[in-house]
Structures are given as C-alpha cells and as structure tokens.
Amino acid sequence: MAEQLRNRIKERRAELEITQAGLAESVGVTRKTVNTVENGVFTPSTILALKLAEALDLTVEQLFWIEEHR
C-alpha cells in the first residue's frame, strides 16, 4: 500500500492571501521549497512542517495528512 503526504497549503495561502514567496520568507526557505512541498513533490522535515503550520495558523495535522493508495 502506497502512502502519500497531502497538504492544504495552497488553499490556506489563498484564504490568508499569502504568496509562495511571502510564505517562504516567513519560514526561512526559498519559494522553490514551498512550491515543491505544496505540490507534494518534496516531503518536508518535521521542523519545516511545524514552521509552515505556524505561519499558516494551523496545526500540523490540519495542514498535512497521509493518503493511502491501494
């Protein structure tokens, strides 16, 4: 069974009207990293996941979840 990390960064950014660059600046990474996390290409470290959740005013569980594929 394959597991994939999903997130709602894009939706939350839209709600808060924050750009990828703005979010990247607030968590101390490049826009490229935010882009890859948002698109599910890159799995962030726990530290980055916590920082992203804090910057988007959510808990990590609200921002990220695991989806299982059979």
Binding site: E25, G28, V29, T30, R31, K32, T33, N35
Partner: protein, 149 residues
C-alpha cells in the same frame, strides 16, 4: 540587506545555478574527448596542462556541488541557497553519482581483463562519470523544482 532582498537574491542565484549545473556537467563530459585523444604515455607539457585543467575543474565542480555555490555572497543568502529541498536534491545527486562510479568501476574491471587500463585512466574515468552524473542529477532536480512556480 533586508529579508526580501536576501530572498530575491537567493531566488535569482538558485535559478542561475539550476541552469548552470546541467550545462557544466555536459561541458565537463565533453572536455574528456581531448583527454582521451591524448597519447598513452603523454609527456608533452600540453598534456600535463590538460590533466591539470581536468583536475582543477574537478575540484571546483566538487566544491560547487558540496557547498551549493554562492561563495562570495552573504551567509544569509548562502543559507537560503542551501535550504531543505536543495540539500535533499544534492543528496539524491550524490546517490546517483555513487552508482555511476560503481557501474563505471565494474565496467573498467571487465575491460581490464582484455585490455590493460592504467590506474590514472581508471581514476579519471570513474571520477568523471561520478561528478558529471551527480551534477546533472542535482541540476535537473533543481530545475524541475523551480518550474511551475
């Protein structure tokens, strides 16, 4: 330098690096044509120059691969240039480089059963394959990550 300027600078350098790395990998591979055309026991000054040029370029490329570049930029810019996804891409590049080295070494081992390969030639070919593969892989991953932004 404020945070926005640092981020913009890191973004610009990151894009430049993503374009430059695959190109450097290809140039590095292409450069080997002149090395392979050298006589077997090269002793002319120009041959020493060729080998030295390869050695210097290899060291520079390895240093660039290991540090991520941005050598003359501020610490803050360099830290951003080496953020989490970049470090992950570099590690993947190292893995590909390692397997390229192993494959090449095994290939040379087999060739050596039929035709002797000098120690220097073997090292040259293995290092070239490993560095070029790592550079190309790292660069392509960076390019892909920067796309669709």
């Amino acid at each position: 330098m404020n945070q926005r300027t640092i981020s913009e600078e890191a973004e610009r350098l990151s894009m430049r690096r993503a374009r430059a790395l695959p190109a450097l990998g290809i140039i590095f591979l292409a450069q080997q044509a002149s090395f392979l055309s050298m006589p077997e026991h090269a002793v002319r000054p120009v041959d020493h120059l060729k080998v030295s040029a390869w050695l210097v370029l290899t060291i520079v490329l390895l240093a660039g691969l290991a540090t991520g570049g941005g050598w003359f930029r501020s610490r803050a810019v360099r830290d951003l240039l080496n953020d989490e996804s970049t470090r992950a891409h570099r590690q993947t590049g190292y893995v590909y480089g390692f397997w390229a080295a192993m494959g090449t070494a095994l290939g040379i081992y087999i060739v050596n059963m039929f035709e002797p390969v000098s120690g220097r030639d073997a090292v040259h070919i293995i290092v070239t394959a490993a560095v070029a593969t790592a550079l190309l892989n790292f660069g392509m991953l960076e390019r892909r990550a920067l796309r669709n932004g």
